[in-house]
Amino acid sequence: MLNTFRKIVFVSLAAMFLLSACATPTTEAPKPTSAPAATSAPAATKAPEPTKAPAATAAPAAAGPKVLRLARATYPDIIDPQISSFGIEIEVMKFCYEGLTAIDNKGNIGPGSADKWTVAADGKSIVFHIRDGLKRADGTAMNASDFEYALKRAVDPRVVGKQYADIMSDVKGSHALIGAKEDAKMAQADVDKLYAAYGVKADDAKRELTVSFDQPAPYWLYVAYIWETYPTDKKKVDAAPTNWWNKADGHSCNGPFTIKSIEEGKKIVYAANPNYWRGKPKLDRVEATYITDEIQRFEAYKKGEFDEVDVTPATLAQVEGDPVLKAEMTRYTAAITTNLAFNNLRKPFDNVEVRKAFSQALDRTGWVRDVFKGIGKPTTRWIPPGVPGAQPDKPGVPASDTKAALATLIAAGFGTADGKKVDCAKLGELKITYAGTAQNHARFQFLAGNFAAAFNCAITLDPVDSTVMTALVKDPKTNPQMARQGWIQDYPHPQNWLSVYWKSGAFAARYGYSNKDLDALLVKADATVNFDEAVKLYSQAEDMLLKDVPGAPMNHAEVIYLVKPYLSGLKQNPSSSDAEWAGEWGPVWTYDVDLTKVPASYPKQ
């Protein structure tokens, strides 16, 4: 008996040993991106075997459902339109719900659940007409009061945990509601008092929803498209006020898809909504599977378990070295801008010339090339290309130029007596604070190297916990001297990039930045009903902002995804952030699958 056992153990061990010995690393060392032509690869390094394209089945188009299988990284914490604020949460709701307006694949505002609207001449109100025959997926008829409920719920003090209610602050009477202490047990009479002045009124007989504002807000047509306005179902919410959203049947969708099933932490399945007003989407089903490990997502995509996956710096080299994968790669600039944020209240960055000098010392091209392996677009401007009002060809903050940086700083009085070098003592301690991850250490060492090379002054690297970092930047008293901050677009309108961020008291307060002239110009732009005229004013405002250099824009993010060739329609929206998956902000109802080209592993049911 024992002998047999010994044999089994031995054979098992031998097998394990053999497996270990036979294994080779799966990821080839990435090739240098700019290797000199004369340098040949070492003999021992074999080029990675190209991924074999899965053989297409000869199945007829009607053989199976059209399924889009998305590889996703992070599971959402909460799926409640009036509470959520994270991109990973919004992407779920976008499948299921549609707001009053919608964005087309060119970034233009267009009809959504409202088929038409009227903006008042003074811009202080918008009347939305809810389209006739609008239904939820379960067939329930919808009217203006469904949207009134959502817009009221977005600021309701009884809804505890609202993270993005401030986006509603343009609406008349909203401040008292948003500022009230959240209390699920607040008396109805007290809430009604607060709502009495609230500028949202439904008229179901006319199918009209009127939204009024304290100040003119014609741009609110764009706000009317974001998740905060999605029509949650009152009946479902009342049945389970705090966690109605956690189960698929809690969502009465009016968007292109319904939520078919939710497996917490793992998978969300969406099914085409037959009652969607544009008609049933071409895809029958979308499956979002959540896998934290990027290598695992990538391997699953290669094996045909996913139709779309993100490409990360860790997998980029392998993709670029593989002809099949490279052909499946799609990359484009996203509506995300990264800023080197200066605390304008802290010395020496309270001096605009110092901020200019640091902007000049910043090697943006190297930052993208060396730190992000080429993923991103260097920029000196704030508004990304594709967003109305963007001026990508125009100079922004002072561009990268080490010599000019030195000259600027010396001219500003920070030079030595002979005027040839920077007197570091005059600058005082210089510190870059960042969330202390391994990736960030390399990133911020690069930045510190930039400044040290330009000014020959020591830069202190100050890594902190990522949560601490987020807490620090929210208050100008604690916001570091220098930190990486930025903006991910909520809606493709310059108001979202300028007024929401840079008006005094808005996010600009974190930088300790305030410019009354800029505020006045933005107020004027916000109030301008004519879109083209408003965009001109926003462009002027951006120029004014960049002259102050409250921060130094570094790069617009680029998104890179692998998309299987049998998928079509995942068009790039020129002004989308698409931070979660390729085509996230596009017209998902138009996406299609060519079933004649899918591999054998593609779902049959």
Partner: protein, 347 residues
Amino acid sequence: MGAYYIRRLFFIIPTLFASALITFVIMHATPGGPFDAGNDKITERAKARLMAAYGLDKPLFFNTQAVQDAYAENKPFYEVGAAFFDAQFELWLVNFVQGKFGPSFRFIGRNVEDILLEPTSLDGVFWQNRLMATIILGLVATIIAVIVGFPLGVIAAVKQNSWVDNLCLFFATFFYGIPNIVLGIFLIIIFASWLGWVNVVEMNYWEGWRPWVLPAFVLAIPTAAFLARLTRSSVLEVLRMDFVRTARAKGLSENVVIAKHVVRNALIPVVTFLGPALATLITGSFVIETQFGVTGIGRLFVESVGRRDYSVIMALTLIYAFFIAIANLGVDLAYGFLDPRIRFSKK
């Protein structure tokens, strides 16, 4: 004997209280709060509102302001006294005594006990939840660790200094040194990408035993390796004892000597290790849960620390403390069975 174990069970209560207090202090001493984590778009106004809504604007232990307010309002003395304890820790404690862990600050609208105990899918039966997923993973890993590690240790000791011993030692050292995360990716690539025996994305953990094998194996391997080394040294020590020589002199076969006399006596240090190891395997599976997509509490715990989800951190710390206390109690119980000479006095 029975009274001893009952007493030990009661000692778990102060242990849990101490764990809760220490965790609470450390947690709140760490900079940043639940509404700082992740999303820097949350404004200061929204953050203040959220803090107030969840009672995080109250003092940690004693609310002197509430006492002053109650006193100024001429409230009865018991209300003034109660106001002193209108603080975060006491509120948590009151909830805990009632069997509630409070609301999660991350999964807004959900209580911690719901997050731990609700089935993770709509059609899931009641026990298919996060807590059970981690327990199953830990138990399967423990079984694998014992099945692999213990026999290897015994064989290595019996064949001391032979090639078998060297191979076992190599195995133990090699696999003890490989981080779980590396081994996990390695096995996924071999068994899923190359051999195609399993899917890279193995999702249906509640539909059979197959999905559990790889994650449990990866989780078990370092423990199995350590167990093999521990068993080897323990068996070697016992092999040199007089009673083993006597057994052999009696003419018993070597297999009987090993199986009946050596192994049982060598088990004491092994069991001592296995108690906390079991608790560690049950609670320490963050990397594996993340890598293999298991929706369990190991993953939840680490994510909660990063997100400063205080209620979840408190709940899971206490669950872990409870597991470890119970595991240690189990070890003590096992001593008595393994070696009848070990008895616990009443003193």
